[in-house]
């Protein structure tokens, strides 16, 4: 089975590539790159006028398997991933049961082998049942295939537990993904604590609830030498703390989500308490958003990740205070990144590719997608100039909880190729 990607603009900053050429794919790998390659017998994808990039990877998704497949499962989650231009994802362990031992890891990997349309790397819980008490079997789970440990959704409160977890993870070279949140400070807040929550009479989540844990875990990283990755940064001070941590030599990295670099807390007012504006951490003020944009531009923020958090309609069709936290992100991430960052001149196309392909792969230690002969054919093709509307009816995730439904964006993924197989073309999922 061969595939010819014809006449695209190949952009791969890590390999120093930016030129118009064809890519010939054979047996799942890039066989040749050059001008006028033969298309005899090959599946031809016309990439004229489009950007051919190393495949995008999202290291922060919730695929709800096992236990909450009514929200999302491996099949629907990976369908959303490939529709959104992603060739691989890392799924979070806050499932039921929690991914905290090899048996559950293996269950997820079996589902992945049977159902997935893209690469899926599980992550494991930091502590057993994510209770923040005893360490989970990180070494055993790493051998089974996890790429990181994380407390996403249920932060480790006890600093001594977190310190030991970092020391323990470090010996296995495991990344610690850190959902930084002090639960006492968060309380039962529902949106960013500030002017808008005050006007709307909603309980607030102060920025310091994130910043306190970010500061703590940067210091613990300095002390233990462990690699800590701050998930979904939401505040200016968080960006400042991470910049400081990097200067101090801490092995700290971080991610920003499209919603945190696009929206502010005003969206809750504008959308009249729509529960699709409720996520944790919440979107905050314009000053926070600007700091995130600056962090993306200057490299303080290492990657873009979605925190794709599907929820059933019923879980969002309630009063704001009682609605589930989280929004879907896989099918809108590329569009928002092109429209809001690249087109606005916040980052370059090359930076976007580093933020969404090269660096995410490096962080979780999986093969780094690259446009070079011999590399796995994990490729994302972008149509930077196509203007389109985000439609709920076209989404393939089981859940439609996105505040971006109805938005018009310029730029979207055109094709997703995973291991040489075409999985999406023109935002339609290809299953055969």
């Amino acid at each position: 089975m061969t595939m010819l990607i014809r006449n695209g603009r190949l952009v791969d900053p890590a390999s120093g590539v930016d030129r118009t050429a064809d890519i010939l794919v054979e047996n799942g790998r890039i066989k040749a790159i050059g001008q006028g390659l033969p298309e005899v017998g090959a599946q031809v994808i016309d990439a004229s006028g489009k950007v051919v990039a190393p495949g995008f990877i999202d290291i922060h998704v919730h695929f709800r398997t096992p236990g909450q497949e009514y929200k999302e499962d491996i099949r629907s989650g990976t369908a959303a991933a490939v529709r959104g231009g992603f060739v691989g994802v890392a799924c979070m362990p806050n499932t039921n049961p929690v991914i905290d031992n090899v048996t559950v890891v293996n269950y997820v990997l079996q589902k992945v082998a049977a159902e997935a349309l893209c690469r899926v790397w599980p992550t494991g819980a930091i502590t057993k049942n994510s209770k923040g008490e005893q360490l989970a079997e990180a070494g055993d789970m790493k051998e089974a295939g996890i790429v990181a440990i994380t407390d996403d959704g249920r932060p480790v409160e006890n600093p001594e537990t977190m310190r030991q977890a970092m020391i323990y993870a470090h010996q296995f070279g495991l990344l610690v993904m850190d959902h930084a949140q002090d639960k006492q400070l968060t309380g039962d807040g529902a949106m960013h604590f500030g002017k808008v929550s005050s006007y709307l009479g909603l309980k607030g989540i102060p920025s310091v609830s994130e910043e306190l844990h970010v500061a703590r875990d940067i210091l613990l990283s300095l002390e233990t030498g462990a690699r800590v990755h701050i998930q979904h940064v939401s505040s200016k001070t968080t960006v400042d703390l991470i910049r400081w941590g990097k200067q101090m030599g801490a092995k700290v990295t971080c991610e920003a989500t499209p919603h945190h670099f696009t929206l502010t807390d005003e969206i809750v007012l504008e959308m009249n308490y729509s529960t699709n504006t409720k996520m944790n951490p919440p979107v905050r003020t314009e000053a926070d958003r600007q700091a995130i944009l600056a962090g993306l531009a200057d490299g303080t923020i290492d990657i873009i990740a979605t925190d794709h958090a599907p929820h059933h309609f019923d879980e969002k069709e309630v009063e704001y205070q009682y609605a589930a936290f989280g929004i879907t992100g896989l099918e809108t991430a590329v569009g928002l990144t092109v429209d809001r960052l690249v087109k606005q001149g916040v980052i370059t196309l090359e930076q976007m590719i580093r933020l969404m392909s090269t660096r995410p792969a490096e962080l979780i230690g999986v093969p780094v997608p690259a446009l070079k002969e011999g590399a796995a054919a994990d490729i994302t093709i972008l149509d930077l100039d196509r203007t389109w509307k985000v439609e709920a009816a076209e989404m393939v995730s089981k859940s439609k909880n996105s505040p971006f439904i109805g938005w018009e964006l310029t730029g979207r993924p055109y094709a997703t190729i995973v291991g040489g197989a075409l999985r999406m073309q023109d935002m339609k999922v290809v299953t055969e």
């Binding site: 002017k195 709307l200 009479g201 309980k203 308490y273 009063e319 704001y320 009682y322």
Partner: protein
């Protein structure tokens, strides 16, 4: 007199002065009716509404019921313990079931801000907010405004001091949103742990010094202190609260001699307000309660009654 051109009463933040004028004017007429020996109008005969209360309330629920009965509406009261909200029937299902029984309006009190907005988007019948979390309490705001206007004639330039736990207060928010539109000089005073963010942007003064707020005030509106805030660490003790923020005779002397003393009730005597003040000459607290019925009659009439004047 024509009705309000809106389906719901959710808050004063999105209500125009024309609409508020109409409600306040109609409420004066309703107050006259309340003084008649036969306090019954056939205006809303054949109309029905429910009071759906997810929080305890005596005054507001009964005030709506009495207002409805004076206008001959059929009123059904439903009280639901808020503890059962999360596990029981959803708000949407409860309200839709009531709607298909043919009711014309839902009057709702709910502990979550925005709950009536959620409902209003999903029901064809009217939704009247009787207090949503710490967001708004529009009928309380309007009855406070009616009381002020009766005594002071207008709102423009009046110094209005609102004192107490502003942060958690839907009464404070509705007062601010309503009075600010008429150009009142609004002062919010309370302990720093109970002051909200962002109201300075609306031209409202925010201070921790109750004396500063009350100095030369035309109106002093004292908010109820929820005593469980002490357990959450927002104030150390009742005596300390009373010492620094309680409205007592000495502090009331800072206000104008004809200043009005208001309280939305229920009062904690000796905590946020001294008995001497609550029962003093300047107190209009009981008139607020009377005006509450009048304002609610006006709103029910304007939303459900439509066309002809009373």
């Amino acid at each position: 007199m024509t009705g309000l051109k809106r389906k719901d009463i959710l808050g004063l933040k999105d209500m125009s002065t024309e609409e508020m004028d109409l409600i306040l004017h109609t409420a004066e007429t309703m107050k006259d009716i309340m003084k008649r020996p036969i306090k019954k109008l056939p205006t809303l005969r054949g109309k029905s509404f429910v009071t759906l209360f997810y929080e305890n309330s005596t005054r507001t629920a009964k005030s709506f019921e009495i207002a409805g009965k004076y206008l001959s509406a059929d009123v059904t009261g439903i009280a639901i313990a808020s503890s059962s909200v999360a596990k029981g029937e959803t708000l949407k299902d409860t309200a839709r079931n009531l709607e298909v029984m043919g009711i014309d309006a839902v009057v709702m009190r709910h502990p979550a801000g925005g709950a009536p907005h959620f409902l209003a988007e999903r029901l064809k019948c009217s939704v009247i907010n009787a207090g949503d979390g710490m967001h708004e309490h529009p009928t309380q705001g309007l009855l406070d405004m009616m009381t002020i206007r009766e005594k002071k004639g207008s709102f423009k330039g009046l110094k209005v001091a609102i004192v107490g736990d502003i942060f958690h207060s839907r009464v404070a928010r509705s007062n601010v949103y309503g009075l600010a539109k008429y150009g009142a000089d609004i002062w919010l005073a309370g302990p720093s742990t109970m002051l909200p963010q962002g109201f300075e942007d609306m031209g409202v003064h925010v201070t921790t010094r109750v004396e500063e707020a009350m100095e030369g005030a035309d109106v002093v509106n004292v908010l109820r202190l929820q005593l469980e805030r002490q357990e959450k660490g927002l104030f150390p003790s009742v005596p300390e609260y009373h010492k620094f923020w309680g409205v007592n005779p000495a502090r009331l002397k800072l206000a104008k001699t004809d200043a009005l003393l208001m309280h939305p009730g229920p009062m904690n005597r000796g905590v946020e307000i001294s008995t001497a003040v609550a029962d003093g000459d300047q107190s209009v607290i009981l008139e607020q309660v009377t005006n509450g019925v009048a304002v609610r009659m006006a709103i029910l009439y304007l939303l459900l009654g439509g066309g002809d004047a009373a």
